[in-house]
């Protein structure tokens, strides 16, 4: 496994969020301008209804707070005394920002408190559920744990294969041969991987601009533009990472897997994926081996585990043979 540097910035500021989302949801700043640099940490927006009512045990205050028609109309229906108590419950916690859906006019007290505690207050023309959905996707994309790994990500028959190994072992050369065989390059050299949900790893390049992605260095040749050379079918922007293939120099001590019955795995960001080590030997066609690993993975996904099924047939055959022999023995007696 390659080294895993941690992604250190697991937050975005309210300002960044608003810059990206303002147009989609027609966000308008109403109060709390001083809090625009507040940090959003949790990936899911929260509806603070129960927190206002005083039940703050599970109040996710470190994320965007959404107030919909339900909350606002309730706040307006209660007495002033109760209302200020409700607000106090919520503002006892630090919050990055509050968004009110459907451009509902915010209660006056809310505006005052947002200014007092520097919590930016926005209105949006979106429906509450659509707003929550949009924010969830956005926050998940921006706050998902991520790492950059040294390796090459290639889409092989629709399977995202991460090639890893020491510098100079031949990852790029292997990838180049695979692209030449109609597979698609996602990123060479450095792959940025994000965790989506609990089980999904998405990989892409680290290029700060798409004009720099899909380039590759091949030793002795120099920098190559894969998208230009192979066209759009030779590249893709991101791909789920499903298998890690670790290329290593062959040595007699290397414990080669000869059956494939026991599946080795590796962990990236806490997600387990199959891990195959392939030792390089001069003259061995590495592309075919990588293709076969990908194909066998697809077979396994579809429920056909070649190694296990072969072994089961073998054991079955041997059992029958043994029975036959046993019967012959009995006959002779």
């Amino acid at each position: 496994m390659s080294t895993i540097p941690e992604n250190s910035s697991n937050f975005i500021t309210v300002n960044e969020l608003i810059k990206d989302m303002a147009d989609d949801f027609n966000l308008r700043l109403i109060a709390g301008r001083k809090g625009l640099s507040n940090k959003i940490i949790a990936v899911n927006p929260h509806r603070p209804g129960l927190a206002m009512a005083g039940y703050t045990k599970y109040f996710r205050n470190n994320t965007v707070q959404i107030l919909g028609r339900t909350e606002v109309s309730y706040i307006e229906s209660i007495s002033q005394k109760k209302r200020s108590k409700f607000m106090k419950n919520m503002f006892a916690f630090e919050m990055p920002c509050i968004i009110i859906s459907r451009h509902i006019d915010p209660p006056r007290l809310l505006k005052i408190l947002c200014n007092k505690y520097n919590v930016p207050l926005f209105t949006s023309d979106g429906q509450t559920t659509l707003l929550i959905h949009g924010l969830t996707v956005y926050l998940n994309n921006h706050l998902a744990p991520g790492i950059t790994l040294h390796g090459t990500l290639v889409d092989i028959y629709g399977v995202g294969v991460l090639l890893t190994g020491l510098s100079g072992i031949g990852k790029s050369e292997a990838a180049l041969d695979l692209i030449d065989r109609s597979h698609r390059l996602v990123a060479d050299d450095a792959v940025k991987i994000f965790k989506r949900g609990d089980h999904l790893l998405m990989g892409t390049g680290i290029a700060p601009d798409s004009s720099l992605q899909h380039h590759m260095e091949v030793r002795g040749v120099g920098i190559l533009d894969i998208a230009k050379m192979y066209g759009i079918r030779g590249v893709r922007v991101h791909k789920r990472v499903e298998i890690e293939i670790n290329l290593i120099k062959w040595s007699s001590e290397f414990d080669v897997d000869r059956t494939g019955i026991k599946e080795k795995t590796t962990e990236i960001l806490g997600v387990e994926i199959p891990f195959v080590q392939v030792a390089l030997v001069p003259g061995k066609n590495i592309s075919v081996i990588i293709e076969v690993i990908a194909l066998n993975y697809v077979l396994k996904l579809s429920g056909y585990d070649t190694a296990k099924i072969f072994n089961a047939s073998l054991i079955n055959l041997m059992k029958q043979k043994a029975k036959k022999l046993a019967r012959l023995d009995e006959d002779e007696e």
Binding site: D189, A190, I206, A207, P208, I223
Partner: protein, 88 residues
């Protein structure tokens, strides 16, 4: 493991020629060499990763070296950066 932060000062930043020089120097050592800019960490021995950092003049890099010849590797790389990659 040794770590050092350094600022890129040559005019055009880490473009192809300085990046190639850096990688060539880094590859002379057996220690593992990692370069970090903001959140992105790359292998200091591979040129594409280094160029993808798009480290402009004035940006800061963190060099992390781990291995038997880490001291020598760090000195050589720092010398290279501080000498603005022999740029005139």
């Amino acid at each position: 493991m040794i770590t050092k932060e350094i600022m890129i000062k040559n005019k055009l930043g880490l473009h192809a020629r300085p990046a190639a020089l850096f990688v060539k120097t880094a590859s002379k050592y057996i220690s593992s060499i990692k370069i970090k800019k903001n959140d992105t960490e790359i292998d200091g021995k591979s040129i594409m990763g280094l160029m993808m950092l798009a480290a402009e003049s004035g940006s800061k890099l963190i060099i992390m070296i781990d291995g038997e010849d880490e001291g020598n590797a760090m000195n050589a790389l720092i010398k290279l950066i501080e000498g603005n990659f022999n740029e005139k």
